[in-house]
Amino acid sequence: MNKKYIAAASAAAVMVSMISVPAFAVDYPGGSQDTRISTAIEPTYTVTIPADTTVAFNALSTDFGAVTLESAQIDPGKAVKVELDASGSLKNAADADKTIAYTINTADNTAFTSASYQTAGDTTALKIDITQEAWDAAFAGSYSDTVTFTVSYVDAE
């Protein structure tokens, strides 16, 4: 299954000081001098979300890929949150009033609405579930819907 990648808007910072600062001079007979070492690392992360998926007719459960934190370099105490916005109704292309109800669930049959991730590799497998009753009541035709995954950088819970 194809994946979609969402990369954080910020890349790792390139902190090269463009400010001219005076150097420290140490003369005979010697001495010591403190120097500050620093670097600024901006948070970065990559999340993959499920790509377009086709549900077979009468399929009660269809693999819908996974939401995965592929890579992460984030501040301590922060997390990457992924939220799902889905209408729950596949709409007939010829008549939008004709629908088939569906739910997007995790592997343990819990409805997926959002999840937070902190470590690269954290993942949530998803599936599209449609009841037999919904299939039996469906009119002929092509049905589709669009779901939206929203990724944000938040305080860890």
Binding site: S38, I41, E42
Partner: protein
């Protein structure tokens, strides 16, 4: 005849004045003092840059000028540090320092007597950080003559 002779003899005697001269060698001490001197320039701040492999690093130049020391002496530059960068949130990132070429012992740089400027390049090298953030540390450059 006798009177003329007497006058002439006196003139000759008067002209023979004795001069005192040294008959032995004499030592003279020649000396001068050259004060040792040098100036070593170290950077006040070193900001690590991201590398292509995800690590962070930076080269730092240390310059010595007008170095004039006693024969056999040299300037040694050493570092005092815990070699750990710490972020504002407390995350830690270890780093190391690669000394300049041709140094011995614990020195990161060494210089010899030379009126021309001498530059030693040392490298600060950190690993791939687990967490983002603003990291900082303070190192102390210790300059001595040995």
């Amino acid at each position: 005849m006798k009177r003329i002779a007497s006058v002439l003899l006196a003139g000759i005697i008067l002209s023979a004045v004795p001069v005192t001269a040294s008959a032995e060698g004499q030592d003279t001490r020649v000396k001068f003092e050259v004060d040792p001197s040098y100036t070593v320039i170290i950077p006040p701040e070193i900001i690590l840059d991201p590398q292509s492999d995800g690590t962070y690093a930076k080269d730092a130049a240390i310059t010595a000028s007008d170095v004039r020391l006693k024969y056999g002496q040299g300037i040694t530059v050493a570092l005092e540090s815990d070699y750990t960068l710490t972020s504002d949130e407390g995350a830690e990132l270890a780093y190391s320092v690669i000394p300049a070429n041709n140094v011995s012992g614990d020195a990161v740089a060494q210089f010899k007597t030379d009126t021309a400027d001498q530059t030693a390049v040392i490298k600060f090298q950190a690993g791939v950080p687990e967490f983002s953030g603003n990291y900082k540390d303070t190192v102390t450059f210790v300059i001595s003559v040995s």
